[in-house]
């Protein structure tokens, strides 16, 4: 069971809504498996069916994490028209087996859904998530 603080869930949804209909993306970092910070990132591809986290943002965040001694815990992105489940593209481009992949779906705009997965070598494992305080 993975615990996601409500403020992070809210921020992921806010970010997704702000970028809709395009996909948004960002990073979640912290220590000992606890998320301490969310980093909104730019997508280098503005598309409803694609995200490509701006490598410059990525570099900046990665450096910051190394300085703070934090680890990259999660990568989030939105699906603005489809369900919160990794697509073929998501799986093919999942190069971070140690990170959790958070997908927020705006398929039903008034009922956003966040689901969390581990994607390792083409295999998708869903994690149970509890959104709490």
């Amino acid at each position: 069971m993975f615990k996601l603080e409500k403020r992070f869930a809210t921020e992921i949804i806010d970010h997704a809504r702000a970028e809709a209909p395009n996909e948004c993306c960002g990073l979640l970092a912290g220590e000992n498996g606890t998320i301490l910070q969310l980093y909104r990132c730019d997508s280098a591809e503005k598309s409803a069916y694609r995200y490509y986290l701006d490598p410059k943002d990525q570099l900046r965040v990665m450096r910051e994490l190394d300085e703070k001694g934090w680890e990259l815990l999660g990568i989030y992105h939105s699906h603005t028209h489809t369900e919160a489940y990794p697509s073929k593209t998501d799986v093919e481009l999942a190069f971070y087996p140690d990170a959790l992949y958070f997908i927020v779906s705006l398929e039903k705009p008034s009922e956003p859904v966040i689901r969390v997965f581990r994607i390792n070598d083409g295999n998708i494992t869903e994690e149970d998530v509890m959104i709490g305080q």
Partner: protein
């Protein structure tokens, strides 16, 4: 020269958990080879079988991407910092199973394909008027999957509309046309977001309304709106698919900003009362379907970017003889709006320009 390399987390198992390592190399290529010698397994993560940098690996020298330098041949100097960054990317599949089925007849057309269909789904069009022309145009644009459709009309559904305005049904009598349009389009294609604008276009609201759309489809039936929309589309650089109907005859053309406008064709409106409206002169219902469908076709071509749009051509259709004729039209260098020395550079009072009292507008 010694260069510091930033190792991304997924590769740190290879570098014995070190976040940065230092190796020597004259170029990126040499550097990766040197890295491979010390930490076997790195090379295949960075280069593909052809020896090129994997598409999903970004390499930065200091803060500059090597794709903006000389790629793997980028020269390095003492003290440079190289970062290896596997992409964080992905994306939803373009279509749901239902969409693949719904748009299959489009997707199998090489000229449309999945790419074109995605363009349609990501595009928007504004229909000015939910009347004789706007109704059939809206139906086809919605069925084609144009993702967002705006509809401007201030009017209510009247029994005399139903002979040709096929978005509206008998049970819609008395309802705002834009709302019955929302219902009809939703029934045909729930993918389409319909944005009703129950308003009469005016110099005050036209720019704000048209600004949010890729293509404007003009199905209005009066001269003040026609000139207003023409000028606003030119000022905001919006392509406009123009259509008009009268009794048994119709006209269609596409105005592409900078390639001529309605004023190049008709610099001034006819005197008020000279040209009777459809309400006064009548119109064959099915003619609206033909002209409105042609407008939808041209809008789809503009969105897809294919074929030869009806730019600089005016198409006439005569329903009685069933003849299509075309004439060439050109941008008029003397045009007061889009000519070489424009005298009208912002919206004006179109009712005064057309000599029509305010509010006298039908759909």
């Amino acid at each position: 020269m010694t260069v510091k390399i930033y190792i991304p987390t997924p590769f740190r198992a290879i570098t014995r958990n070190q976040a940065t390592v230092e190796v020597e190399g004259e170029t990126i290529q040499h550097l990766i080879e040197a890295l491979e010698a010390e930490y076997p397994g790195i090379r295949e993560r960075v280069f593909d079988e052809a020896g090129e940098i994997h598409r999903h690996i970004n390499i930065y020298v200091n803060e500059i991407a090597v794709e903006n330098l000389k790629g793997k041949d980028t020269a390095l100097v003492e003290g440079d910092e190289v970062s290896l960054i596997p992409a964080i990317a992905g994306g939803a599949i373009p279509f749901t199973e239902e969409q693949i089925k719904r748009y299959s007849r489009h997707i199998i057309l090489p000229e449309v394909g999945g790419k074109g269909q995605r363009k349609l789904l990501n595009s928007s069009a504004l229909l000015v008027g939910a009347g004789g022309l706007g109704c059939p145009a809206a139906l086809y644009l919605a069925a084609a999957g144009v993702g967002r459709l705006g509809i401007v009309d201030f009017d209510l559904v009247d029994l005399s509309n139903l002979q040709r305005q096929i978005l509206h049904h008998t049970h819609d009598l008395g309802r705002p046309k834009v709302l019955s349009a929302v219902d009809s389009i939703g029934d045909i294609n729930p993918d389409v977001k319909v944005e009703p604008h129950q308003a009469q276009l005016s110099s005050e609201n036209v720019k704000e309304i048209i600004a949010g759309y890729d293509v404007i489809v003009n199905g209005c039936d009066n001269f003040p709106t026609r000139y207003l929309l023409n000028d606003a589309c030119y000022f905001l650089k919006k392509p406009m698919v123009d259509g008009s109907i009268f009794r048994f005859e119709g006209q269609v053309t596409v105005f592409s900003p900078g390639k001529g406008c309605y004023r190049c064709l008709y610099p001034a409106p006819p005197p008020p009362g000279l040209v009777p409206s459809c309400a006064e002169a009548g119109v064959l219902g099915v003619l609206c379907g033909i002209i409105g469908s042609l407008q939808a076709l041209e809008a789809i071509k503009l969105i897809l970017g294919g074929g030869d749009p009806l730019v600089n051509r005016l198409l006439f259709f005569d329903a009685m003889t069933l003849e299509f004729r075309q004439v060439k039209i050109r941008r008029d260098p003397e045009c007061p709006v889009c000519g070489d020395h424009p005298t009208i550079t912002d919206l004006i009072d179109y009712h005064e320009f057309c000599g029509v009292p305010q509010g006298q507008v039908v759909s």
